[in-house]
Symmetry: C2
Subunit: 455 residues, 2 copies
């Protein structure tokens, strides 16, 4: 009942969780291939579909000045064609088998994934490996895709909830910091970024020692490894012994306070002619690798994670002030954020902000009430088990284990950690979050700040 470490120097294959260990009949295995590519799979007996993911440990925080948005730009361009396939070939390959394929760029990682029938898994490996190794970044395609990305940014800008979260992140980490910048860049940076920068980004970060392939569902580990090896060898990627890249969190100063190095508190009001005001209140959170992340999951469940949470009950059920209200968190290698969100009538922003702050502070000072801890642990545990129904969740869990945590937690271990969380743990963490500087973001029809200071 302990986590299995995932050593970077280890070559060969490791069984992380057998049938007995996880109780679901699934077997988790990990191999470091000769070129340094890591492959983690979870074979789920009886499942006739599988989700494949290719993870590259590069995100928007790694971009040089003047190239902001290039990671996301690159993600788009991988679908535009390779030395062996046109954009239509790539699209057709997945569409012809009903597979869903997509990609996501984050601040620290980029992921390409596809969900397919088990018999189509070799095809998925082949196409995604082709994209990762052999994209051409054709200059003409690049100019066309620049326009598509500008449309995507405009679409996001038309979503006031998205704007509120984006701006809140900027406030917590600092608008000019690598973590605070928007993942997709801005219209101006996208117009400015040259092909050379995107190409260099691709050459530098899409390498065998930086690549992690994860898959879950109806599959055979050795067959997946063989397919990955064959695809990478075919693309000319190295097959000699290499060591995977160190993890981003390695060497991070995990002993610092959560707000160390982050900006002081702030208030930002974005004037938009919307019906609702979108309010985010929060501040620093836990780093991704923080061992208290299990406490944070329980804390979120108590404060704003479901219909029985304090925020839902107080803001929505008792007072009818909001339809959507919740708490949330994100963690990165060296910093994290934590926040409370509500969408409400503009005139009620002061009342809602006060309520959000009140509930947060109450948890920090008054701790848990009868039954809350058990309910929250039940919610986290049940959610963890229910997520196993979806091969995409399993695939993601493997990717995070490898890239973020450097250790694999079986289902049993994860449930044991949730169950071990105490009421004191939750209150102490709430107090630590509350003690960090507070940031308030409001997006709505306001010519001046409806709340001048974040409570």
């Amino acid at each position: 009942m302990t986590a299995v470490p995932l050593p970077l120097e280890q070559e060969g294959t490791l069984t992380l969780s057998g049938q007995d260990a996880d109780g679901h009949g699934a077997t988790v295995r990990r191999s470091v291939l000769a070129g340094g590519v890591r492959v983690l799979t979870e074979a789920v007996p009886g499942l006739r579909s599988a989700t494949l993911g290719a993870w590259v440990g590069v995100g928007s925080r790694d971009e040089a000045d003047g190239h902001h948005g290039s990671t996301h730009f690159l993600e788009h361009l991988l679908f535009k064609g390779t030395r062996h396939r046109s954009a239509l070939d790539i699209a057709s390959a997945f569409d012809a088998v009903g597979g869903e394929s997509n990609a996501a760029t984050g601040k620290e990682h980029t992921t390409y994934y596809a969900r397919v029938l088990d018999t189509d898994l070799p095809l998925a490996v082949d196409v995604i490996a082709d994209m990762v190794t052999s994209a051409t970044l054709d200059p003409e395609d690049l100019e066309g895709e620049r326009q598509v990305i500008l449309e995507e940014l405009a679409m996001n800008d038309d979503d006031p909830v998205d704007v509120a979260h984006e701006r809140f992140t900027e406030q917590v980490f600092g608008a000019d910091s690598p973590l605070g910048r928007p993942i997709g860049g801005t219209a101006q940076t996208i117009l400015d970024v040259p092909r050379d920068a995107v190409w260099e980004h691709y050459q530098q970060h899409y390498t065998a020692p930086g690549l992690v392939v994860t898959a879950a569902g109806g599959l055979d580990h050795d067959a997946v490894c063989a397919a990955v090896s064959a695809a990478l060898a075919g693309a000319g990627w190295p097959q000699d012994a290499r060591t995977p890249l160190p993890r981003r969190s390695a060497g991070g100063r995990q002993d610092r306070g959560i707000a160390d190095g982050l900006p002081g508190g702030s208030v930002l009001t974005v004037d938009r002619p919307t019906e609702q005001a979108n309010v985010v209140l929060g501040g620093a959170g836990l780093r991704a690798g923080d061992p208290r992340r299990h406490v944070l999951a329980v804390l979120n469940a108590v404060l704003g994670g479901g219909m029985s949470s304090r925020l839902f009950q107080e803001v929505r059920e008792r007072r009818g002030l909001a339809y959507s209200v919740y708490s949330f968190s994100s963690g990165y290698a060296d910093a994290g954020l934590f926040g409370l969100y509500a969408g409400c009538t503009p005139s009620r922003v002061p009342q809602v902000v006060e309520l959000l702050a009140h509930e947060w502070e109450q948890l920090a000072t008054g701790g848990l009430r009868d039954g809350e801890l058990q309910r929250a642990i039940g919610q986290v545990s049940g959610g963890t088990v229910l997520a196993l129904e979806d091969s995409g969740s399993r695939m993601s869990r493997l990717g995070k284990a490898e890239l973020v945590h450097g250790e694999y937690l079986s289902l049993e271990d994860a449930l044991a950690r949730a169950a071990s969380v105490t009421a004191d743990d939750v209150q102490q963490l709430a107090a630590e979050l509350w003690a960090a500087p507070h940031h308030l973001t409001v997006v709505g029809p306001f010519e001046s700040d409806p709340v001048p200071v974040a409570p």
Copy 2:
């Protein structure tokens, strides 16, 4: 390889699909309980979770004048408390086991559902049955929830994509027609609707002969039936022999043209200070029960259903005019709609509208190209099989079989129907859709119509 009819007069239990028939090891059974409640389950061996749904055949189209939005209002109120449970009790019951529960109101149906671990299925039956049978609609709670619904409507109104689809639906069916009205009502109708109307709606439509319970996952059909019977008997619902209500489509004139009785073509521009313009072009579509719905699925795949579709390739890949572009359809008992959507820079609306129309017309007049039919059939078939991974999709499929189609199609049957679609079928349907009056909706920063007539 034929559909199994679901006769309303039939009492007792019917096995719709055994292990051999569906090839996935799942068994589908249907029982009509004594009081007239229908229970359909799909037992999936090896699955440790299950999704439960309670379906009531009432939607926004059934609302009397002056009570628009009352169906959705009622859906909210069922979570506010019953004779046996407070709102917090209901929320806590699901949260404590990590179950996701929610509800959805449509134009013709209302559904309450929950995804839980298999061992928690009896609890889910108990709570949802309590909500369906014994809600109190407490007047004070109702006033609080009125505010929550106003916030929900305001939130939707802040989403320009949502606004475009809502208004397009009004144009196709007529703004004052029962199908054309927005499902949630408007702020004014929500402010006006009296408790009596909601209560009457509840009494009239939430009855044993109108209720359908569906479940899929790790379950035992007889145990689900017993749990449903016990919960309904406990609430005082009839246990004597009753016949289920007729389906909405019964007696519908399926021989009419798709646009018969619908308004003529129209153009609507909604002025909003957004970055992007949101464009919908389309018109009448197929009724939900139309046997050509399998052709429509293939048509959507060809025209605007994936990355290899014509719209994606022409509008996004070749010209970079949009990030989001697709075709869509909705079917109801006696009418349907079909449309093409794109989000683009406002100045390019005329070009995008012309392209959407051009691709639609090309399919109607020129038919399919080499390889398109097989790829589209593969996409529809693969998507159908992949959806089986999710117990929620299986649960939904059972509900629609019972309430909409009146027949059950096994996986094998559904795949056979998709495979039987011909290129001529697709072209003929495209021509029929093209021949109906065209409606154009544009939401964006326009003081006058950027395109005065729908092409």
